[in-house]
Symmetry: C2
Subunit: 376 residues, 2 copies
């Protein structure tokens, strides 16, 4: 509501200053007028710099397609973050620069995401109908391309691309436009098999494009979480290809969980059980400390069976700025006392309307830092 | 929307773990069972530790009163943050511990905030009616008490209190319950004169309370911003008292501004003009960089005529996580290039629904840090 006010105010403001587009970043050729490219610069170690072209951010040629493809925004966020993480395994953040996908445009991706048919020959999903008496589901739910560049004289040159393919674990559909929603589960084996076949088609098609004949092409498969999940899906395998045929797949053992769980009995491994009760301790501490009921939830990620990071959200009702400050101090202390050490953790502290404070320990840090969002 | 989902899920979760309240913090007497007090510990230098009693946060005895008193939440936030800053001038964060006000309870404060009348003898506002043909406005809009403690053996002992009095620069009122809202402006001279008289009454009343006879009592006067202001009001003077009569007032030269201004002509000092055009440069850079219109606004605070800090909010529409990452990197670079150095600045980067990333430079830091709120 507050923000609406500011936005309204903004629309009334006539900006009287118009400046020429300015470029900065790591461009090595500031003396040359012909260079149109600069980069965003890297804000943190282990992240890619992004491409700025003529002073503007170079957006994806299929910008926005995946927003429409995901009813659960957790799938959108984790797909893109996860794809960047897969890319980092092949293209070092130190030598490569990130560019939003420039080779697959909106209509191409939309066609690929459709069912194959007479009017849509490039659809990666099966034709409408049944196979062995069972409805053919939509397998391929989202596709994203990322480009990885290197400096070449005054310009940037493509040195590799990564394509993520998001595969449904549940396909939601309606028999008629206004009818009820049905769902069809897809087994891990089925979505993997279908995804690998789709990956070969994608590789073949990419190799036919000018500029992609010889660069490394990484393809990664992602299992979409269900629409009611409180955490996104995970990438489960990828392949890095120099030729026209898919190389062997490399397994990614990543698992996402939501804490707290109502019952530990559903947790698949013993690590998850310990982590869940550790988190429950933290939650109880926070809830007993503050007079208003605090919602305390977490997304946790596991790599190769080990907890690798957590995103925690604490929601409660504050009556004053001093309460927010004290609560934040308490959370920082409780976090270092009760939460697992050695992994990145961030904790959003919010009231129902907005984030009020933020406690975090980045990768490689030993202590929690905090920030209260104050206002003058 | 996403958060609603999580909260709904939370309500369904039955927490199976109940732990005894645990205490931590800087209590010096962990061997003694009789100590009921601990502290939140200080999360950042220059902030107070807060009091925890029997494992629970000790809330204010008049908790929530000021929430109801402020139509403009900027006044609520800046009043409390400002009052803490006044306290820091008298009670060092190194030797004092903060406690929410325990001497003025809800009904006392509510009575004080009312008009004086036969049924409300303690009302600090003038009686209903007119003086010299002019309506008597509500001057005193909010009151807050803060307690400052020191460790004394196993216990904490009160060593001083601070009381803030918020005075209207505009009094909003209705002639009938459902009638239109009118407003009555109150000049700086009038609100100051009225506030100083109210302060003497408050001091006299506090001295009559058990436990407050001999401690230092700081009283600070705050000018409320109007309800349509995009920044809160400011404290303009305070007095630190050891006796029953008010000591001399100490001026606080604090000014809040909102950037960008539509026209520089309304800016009162030349510093503000320079800072406004500096900010406009930053805003233009950000807006030309990103394809979607970005709302870029700032609250700026001045102390003794010098810019002392900024809270900036950037709102735009993102289509992917990689866009958020790149935009954040760009903002961090643009901030260090275009924004004034040597002062604390934080920049919230949000989409319409929620905060997506955050760039900040704390007091004493030379470089901007950033954090993207990711999701698994």
């Amino acid at each position: 509501m507050k923000w609406k006010k500011i936005r309204t105010a903004l629309l009334l403001v006539v900006s009287t200053t118009v400046l020429a587009a300015c470029s900065f970043g790591s461009s090595s050729s500031s003396s040359s007028k012909s260079s149109k490219y600069t980069t965003t610069g890297s804000a943190a170690s282990g992240t890619y710099e992004g491409v700025i072209k003529n002073g503007k951010y170079q957006t994806s040629k299929s910008r926005g397609v995946n927003v429409a493809q995901n009813d659960n925004t957790f799938n959108l966020k984790s797909f893109e973050t996860g794809l960047t993480n897969v890319s980092k395994k092949v293209f070092s953040t130190k030598s490569y620069i990130f560019q939003e996908g420039q080779y697959l445009n909106t209509s191409t991706v939309e066609n690929w995401l459709g069912r194959v048919s007479g009017s849509n020959k490039t659809g990666l999903n099966p034709k409408k109908g049944k196979t062995n008496g069972k409805r053919n589901p939509i397998y391929v739910q989202q596709i994203e391309e990322q480009d990885y560049m290197k400096q070449s004289g005054d310009n940037l040159k493509l040195h590799g691309i990564t394509v993520g393919i998001g595969l449904n674990s549940v396909d939601y559909y309606r028999k008629t436009t206004d009818g009820p929603q049905y769902k069809q589960k897809i087994s891990d084996a089925d979505l993997r098999a279908y995804g690998e076949k789709a990956a070969q088609k994608v590789l073949t098609r990419l190799r036919q494009k000018k500029g992609l004949k010889n660069v490394p092409i990484v393809i990664a498969l992602y299992k979409q979480a269900s629409n009611d999940s409180l955490v996104g899906g995970v990438f489960f395998e990828y392949t890095s290809n120099s030729g026209n045929q898919l190389s062997s797949w490399k397994e990614l053992n990543i698992e996402n969980k939501v804490f707290p769980k109502a019952s530990d009995s559903t947790t698949s491994n013993s690590n998850g059980q310990t982590d869940n009760s550790t988190f429950s301790n933290f939650k109880s501490q926070v809830q007993s400390f503050f007079p208003n009921l605090s919602g305390v939830t977490a997304q946790a990620q596991y790599k190769d069976g080990n907890l690798s990071g957590m995103h925690i959200t604490v929601t409660t009702q504050f009556y004053s700025e001093t309460e927010i400050t004290s609560f934040t101090q308490y959370i920082a202390q409780a976090a270092s006392k009760y939460l697992p050490s050695g992994i990145p953790i961030d904790i959003k502290i919010q009231s129902s309307s907005e984030m009020q404070a933020f406690v975090y320990r980045d990768s490689g840090q030993s202590k929690f830092s905090s920030h209260v969002f104050e206002s003058y």
